[in-house]
Every structure is written in structure tokens, then in C-alpha cells.
């Protein structure tokens, strides 16, 4: 049976990953839509910027977050009076997780939006629907499986986030020590291999559960007829 300490780590990891994905999902949908459907100057550059977290060393992303959102960073100082603090808080871990998973989400959702027949959107407009309504009643429901896939990928990525997190918000037990950080901590202390192993097993179980839930979610709520 997992110990209280282990459960705390798992709960924190889930909290960080969930909020990281939930908070970035609307932005990912908007970004995916713009990339799939709009043409504008500098699109290639924008596309590259979105994918940056995928190709940069996570430590670099973490460092950039530290510089921007640290207590003395330009954005950190801006947000602190509003009560929004990322530095060395679990919220910072969620921010790092969200940003690292962002390109994965955007890619999956963009593919799904690309696959939606644009003429269906035109048909909806001739029936009197404005663009926003078309998006929420036609485009988004038809891209739903891609949305779930993207969110799951990002969630899995968030559960495994290490480099950006430890660089940005450090390794504070109970606040920012998620599963990977806990495993790392145990592997660094002599004689704690057994603990590292226990956490690793927990990590595997968590990922499998996330996978199963998303499969169920896609099948359960998919608007497309199963037997087309």
C-alpha cells in the first residue's frame, strides 16, 4: 500500500498536471484553430514559436520562466500585486507543465481541425450561424477526439515534467515535488532505491490510468457515429 507521503506526491502531481492542462487548453484550441484555418504574415514564425518547448532543452524553458516569472522578473513583478505568484509554488509547476505540453496539444487539435470539412462550416453559415457559433457547434464537436487526444498527451507529458519544473520552482516537498522530482530525489540519496522503485511503479500506474480514461472519454463522448 502507498504511504501517506507517497499519496501526497501523487495528489500533487495530479493537481499540477490537471491545472497545467486545463489552463492551457483554451489557448491551445485557439492556437490550433488559427494555425489550421488562418493565413497571415509571420505564420511560420508563430508556428515555430509554438513548437519551441518541444525542441528546446526543458532546462532552458525552466530558466526562461524563472527569468520572466521569478519574483524579480518583469512578468512576475507585474502579477504579484494581483496575487498571482508562480515562483517556487505549485502553480509555477503547473505553468511549466502546461507550457511543455502545449505544442503536443496544439499539434493534435490542429490535425483534428484540419480534418473537419470546411464546407460543413460554410453550410452552417448559410443557415444563419455566425463564425463563433459555427466554431462551437460544428468545428469543435467534430474535432473533439483530437481535443481529447491532445489533452491526454499534454497530461502525460505534464506528469513526467522534470527539467523545466526543477529549474523554475525547485524541488520543495509538498509544494513542487511531483513524482519525477521525488524519484530523482530518492535516486540521489544512498539506500533509497526501493523508494525510487515504488514511486516509479506509481508513475506507471498513473500513466496507464490516464490512458484508459482518455480512451473511454473519446469512445463515450465522441460525436462521430461509430459505424459510419
Amino acid at each position: 500500500m502507498p504511504t501517506r507521503e507517497e499519496l501526497e506526491v501523487v495528489a500533487l502531481s495530479l493537481k499540477v498536471a490537471f491545472w497545467g492542462v486545463a489552463a492551457s487548453l483554451p489557448f491551445a484550441v485557439a492556437t490550433a484553430f488559427v494555425l489550421a484555418r488562418k493565413r497571415f504574415p509571420g505564420k511560420t514564425l508563430f508556428d515555430a514559436a509554438v513548437h519551441l518547448p518541444l525542441v528546446l532543452p526543458p532546462v532552458v524553458v525552466g530558466f526562461a520562466l524563472l527569468v520572466l516569472f521569478g519574483r524579480n522578473g518583469p512578468l512576475g513583478r507585474l502579477l504579484e500585486p494581483l496575487g498571482i505568484v508562480f515562483a517556487f509554488r505549485w502553480t509555477g509547476a503547473a505553468l511549466a507543465a502546461g507550457i511543455m505540453g502545449f505544442p503536443l496539444m496544439v499539434r493534435a487539435i490542429r490535425l483534428a481541425i484540419d480534418a473537419v470539412d470546411r464546407r460543413l462550416e460554410l453550410a452552417a453559415r448559410t443557415l444563419g450561424a455566425r463564425r463563433m457559433r459555427v466554431f462551437f457547434t460544428v468545428t469543435l464537436p467534430l474535432a473533439w477526439p483530437g481535443l481529447v487526444t491532445g489533452a491526454l498527451l499534454a497530461f502525460a507529458r505534464a506528469l513526467g515534467e522534470f527539467g523545466a519544473t526543477i529549474t523554475f520552482v525547485s524541488n520543495i516537498p509538498g509544494e513542487t515535488r511531483t513524482l519525477p522530482l521525488a524519484i530523482y530525489t530518492f535516486t540521489q540519496s544512498p539506500g533509497q532505491d526501493a523508494m525510487a522503485l515504488r514511486f516509479s511503479v506509481l508513475s506507471v500506474l498513473l500513466s496507464l490510468a490516464a490512458l484508459a480514461i482518455s480512451e473511454w472519454l473519446v469512445r463515450r463522448t465522441s460525436p462521430r457515429p461509430a459505424d459510419a
Partner: protein
């Protein structure tokens, strides 16, 4: 009343068309690539013309000079696409309700129950589009467009992806709409039998330009159009009324202004107006009444003009009284009969050449 006068540029392709139409059903007719679909897309607001004006029932939808360009959702133009384009994630009922919900109750002119009854959608309401046949899908798409209470209905080759029996089925429904709802319809097609059956007036398009417009019979009778309507499609349209049925022979007589036409049994009531298309290749000519021949129809006619020759073939334009008719002959036959304008001839038409497909209920 539909008024269109636009120039549309799609890459290198330019559509420049001006026409007005006031008939219940107007056909936009032409080969694929003639610009028909581009034009209806411009009416719907999906394609923006470079310049010009589009108005429906006196309401301006687009006017480049005045800077008017209504969004598709504000045009109240119903659009039935070639492949239906029902929303695959919704039931038929939800598809039907989509546009209806967005229409203010005061502007609705047809209730859902009426549309469901007209188009026989009752049994399909709970089904998903993926489980419907092509014809059912098209019917649901027509219903969906109608329930948005449009001021005009655009149908872009709605039969193109259907097999022959389904085509006939949808055609009958379109006729029903025309008669029951009085909604103006723009019907895009490259199939002449659909046009002659449904439409009252037509706009003939080729290479992005209007070649002719007017009444269907009038436009089709003009020989220079026949190159664009296709070689084996060429022919004339005769407006007639069902005179009587002969139960014994199974033949139906159609009376037109200048004579009578006998066709194979037609499913129409005596007195009903019909429109029969006689393809020019089904018309033979003789200088005297043949004494022993199988032709049911021997019509006295006068050669009006000899059309353009193409290869061994020539089209001879005739008048049966005031009714135009076209005969397609070999050049050799035309010479042998010494055909020239003013010459009296007999036009021979087999009764079975006028099949049910080419007779429309006007």
C-alpha cells in the same frame, strides 16, 4: 426576383455574368468549369466578387459600389450542396433544427411539421446522416435549408451524386417545393433533362460568361447554343398539354400550339401542362408523308435555317407553325433533300424518342 451582375476572379479564371430571373425555378446551366458553382457561391456569400451587385427580392446582398457585402449568415439564402453536407455529429432532427433555431419566429414561413411531411422525413428524424442513403441525405439537406426560411433556395447539382431512381425521386420533391411553397429556386445543373423538367427560365453559361438567358424552350431552340449543351443533348422543347390517353395502344397525345405529339404512355392527367424535349438526333426529315413507316409523329414543318456543320453532321432548324424544332442530319442527307430555308418538309419523330425522362410537368 434575382438580380446578378458580377465579375468574379478565381485565380486565372474569371466569371463575368449578368442576368435577372423572375421565374419560380431558374436553371444555371453549363458544362463543368463554366462558372455555375462560382456564381451560386457568390450569391450565397461564400465567394466574394471583385465588383458588381447581387440582389434577391429587391434586397441588396452585395454591391461593390456601395460597399455592401452581407455575411453568408445574414443573407437568408438557402443552399443545398451537391453532397448534402449534413452535420455528421447530429441527428437528422438536429440538422433540421440548426437553421430553424437561428431564424427569428417572425421570419419563419414554414413549420417543421410541414417540411417533414413534404419531404417524408418522419422516419429519418432520429437517424444519423452516416446511416442515410444518398437520396435521404439530400432530402434532409433540402429540409434543413428550408427551415432556415430563406428568401431564395440555391441547389448546386443536388442530383449529381445520386443514381437514376433517386434522381427521379428528388426531382419530384423539388417540383413539390416549387408548387407548394412558392420559394424561388436557383437550380444549377449540367443535365439538360433536369433543366427542361424543372426550370421555367435558364441562364446558359460557358467559360464564365452568359451565352443566353430566357425561357427554357427559347434558349434551347437556338442552334448556336447547341455546341454548349452537348452534341447528343441538343434539341428543342415543346410546351404542351396532355390531350388524351389511349388505353388500348398505351399512347398519350400531347397538344401544342401547332399540332399534336404522340408519346408513349405518360403518367399525367388530361389537361395537365407538360414540357417535352425532342432531341435533334431523334428527328428525321422527309419531303413527303411516308406511306408505310413506323413514325407516330409526322409534323408539317418549314426549314428556317441550316445550322453550322460539324464534320458529317448538320443541324436543321425548323418551325412547326411557330414552334421551333431541330433535326440533326448527315450533311449528305441534307444535300440529297436539297434543304434550304423556306422549304416545306415533314419532321418524323418516333413516339418512344420522347421518353418520360424528357417530359416535365410544367
Amino acid at each position: 426576383m434575382l438580380e446578378v451582375d458580377v465579375a468574379i476572379r478565381r485565380g486565372a479564371f474569371v466569371v463575368e455574368a449578368a442576368f435577372t430571373a423572375d421565374a419560380p425555378i431558374v436553371a444555371l446551366f453549363g458544362r463543368s468549369g463554366s462558372g455555375k458553382s462560382t456564381l451560386v457561391n457568390a450569391i450565397a456569400g461564400i465567394v466574394r466578387p471583385e465588383r458588381g451587385r447581387i440582389a434577391v427580392g429587391g434586397r441588396t446582398l452585395f454591391d461593390s459600389a456601395l460597399g455592401i457585402d452581407l455575411a453568408p449568415e445574414s443573407r437568408r439564402v438557402g443552399y443545398v450542396f451537391q453532397d448534402a453536407l449534413l452535420f455528421p455529429h447530429m441527428s437528422v432532427a438536429a440538422n433540421l433544427a440548426y437553421g430553424e433555431r437561428l431564424t427569428p419566429p417572425a421570419e419563419r414561413f414554414v413549420e417543421r411539421d410541414r417540411v417533414v411531411a413534404l419531404l417524408d422525413l418522419g422516419k429519418l428524424l432520429e437517424r444519423r446522416p452516416a446511416s442515410l442513403s444518398g437520396g435521404e441525405r439530400q432530402r434532409a439537406a433540402i429540409g434543413r435549408a428550408l427551415l432556415a426560411s430563406p428568401r431564395i433556395l440555391l441547389m448546386d447539382e443536388p442530383l449529381a451524386s445520386l443514381d437514376a431512381p433517386r434522381k427521379a425521386e428528388i426531382l419530384a420533391y423539388v417540383e413539390l417545393l416549387r408548387d407548394e411553397l412558392g420559394l424561388p429556386i436557383v437550380y444549377v445543373s449540367h443535365a439538360l433533362e433536369e433543366v427542361t423538367r424543372l426550370a421555367d427560365s435558364m441562364v446558359l453559361l460557358a467559360d464564365g460568361r452568359v451565352l443566353a438567358q430566357g425561357g427554357v424552350a427559347e434558349v434551347l431552340a437556338r442552334a448556336e447554343m447547341q455546341a454548349h449543351t452537348g452534341r447528343f443533348e441538343a434539341g428543342a422543347v415543346i410546351e404542351a398539354r396532355v390531350a388524351r390517353h389511349d388505353e388500348r395502344t398505351g399512347l398519350t397525345s400531347l397538344a401544342f400550339a401547332d399540332g399534336e405529339l404522340v408519346v408513349a404512355n405518360l403518367d399525367a392527367l388530361p389537361g395537365e401542362p407538360v414540357r417535352a424535349r425532342i432531341r435533334s438526333r431523334d428527328v428525321a426529315l422527309a419531303l413527303e408523308v411516308p406511306r408505310a413507316a413506323s413514325f407516330q409523329n409526322v409534323l408539317e414543318a418549314v426549314v428556317e435555317s441550316i445550322g453550322e456543320e460539324f464534320g458529317a453532321i448538320v443541324d436543321v432548324n425548323l418551325r412547326v407553325g411557330a414552334t421551333p424544332l431541330v433535326a440533326r442530319l448527315t450533311r449528305a442527307s441534307a444535300q440529297r433533300l436539297a434543304l434550304a430555308p423556306g422549304r416545306k418538309v415533314y419532321a418524323l419523330v418516333k413516339a418512344i424518342a420522347i421518353d418520360r425522362r424528357s417530359v416535365g410537368y410544367a
